[in-house]
Symmetry: C2
DNA sequence: TAGATACTGAACTAGATGGTTCAGTATCTA
DNA sequence: TAGATACTGAACCATCTAGTTCAGTATCTA
């Protein structure tokens, strides 16, 4: 996609664009889990779940650690701060835009209704 | 991806996962724009830009209207409310999780340091 | 130490994505 | 009314995605 600014946001929003992965984050919020237990919970092959975990891990949303034969997944410490900030800044931008439009409409109505002349 | 819950979040997070599309939202925050002007600004073919706009439109983040031969793009009224809510709820979930871990670590240190016996 | 369990990696699939070009059609403007 | 402008749509391409199966390897457990 040419523009290489903010690769982390690219990765994390892409990670969040899938309902299964959002579900995994939900689940890890309730407690750490192995890949096998997550695969069971989401009715998917181990390999399929591993791929989802890799996507979340590349985005920094999840970290994993292998102890013995079990790889345990938990929420990443970096959290969703950057994403929350982007969304919040732009939510305000949306609102400001509509406030500006309301202003214009109000202006047009005032002129149209001929109240002031 | 099997799980059909919350398609809107799927679509909007996917729309936001591309730097060009986030740039388009930035731009539309500063004022409405035609597809041609956006294509110029982002150095892309008209057709390429049209596809990005379609992605944003399907996600409800942008609305367009054709007047004469010009299609004007503006920010959608639905804003980023649902996305902000999901992110905020889960940001808290991340934090709660780490608070719980801190608690455990503090507990372990207390037992380990043998201060209390 | 044999068998079960937990993961890993390669290979394959169908379908989406982010772009392009090229050939229209519709609308404006001189 | 001719030419320029603004978009639209089809077709193509390379790459990614979300899944699968199958064949390992490593680690536990009886």
């Amino acid at each position: 996609m040419v523009q290489y600014l903010s690769p982390p946001l690219d990765l994390s929003f892409a990670a969040l664009s899938d309902a299964t992965r959002r579900g995994i984050i939900d689940q890890l919020g309730r407690g750490d889990a192995s890949i096998t237990s997550l695969a069971d919970k989401f009715q998917m092959t181990l390999t399929g779940m591993k791929k989802h975990i890799q996507v979340l891990e590349r985005a920094g949303l999840v970290v994993t650690q292998k102890v013995g034969r079990v790889r345990t997944c938990k929420l990443g410490k970096r959290g969703l701060k950057a994403e929350a900030e982007w969304i919040e800044a732009h939510r305000k931008l949306f609102e400001a835009r509509f406030k500006a439009l309301d202003e214009i409409i109000r202006e047009m109505k005032r002129e149209g209704s001929d109240d002031s002349s």
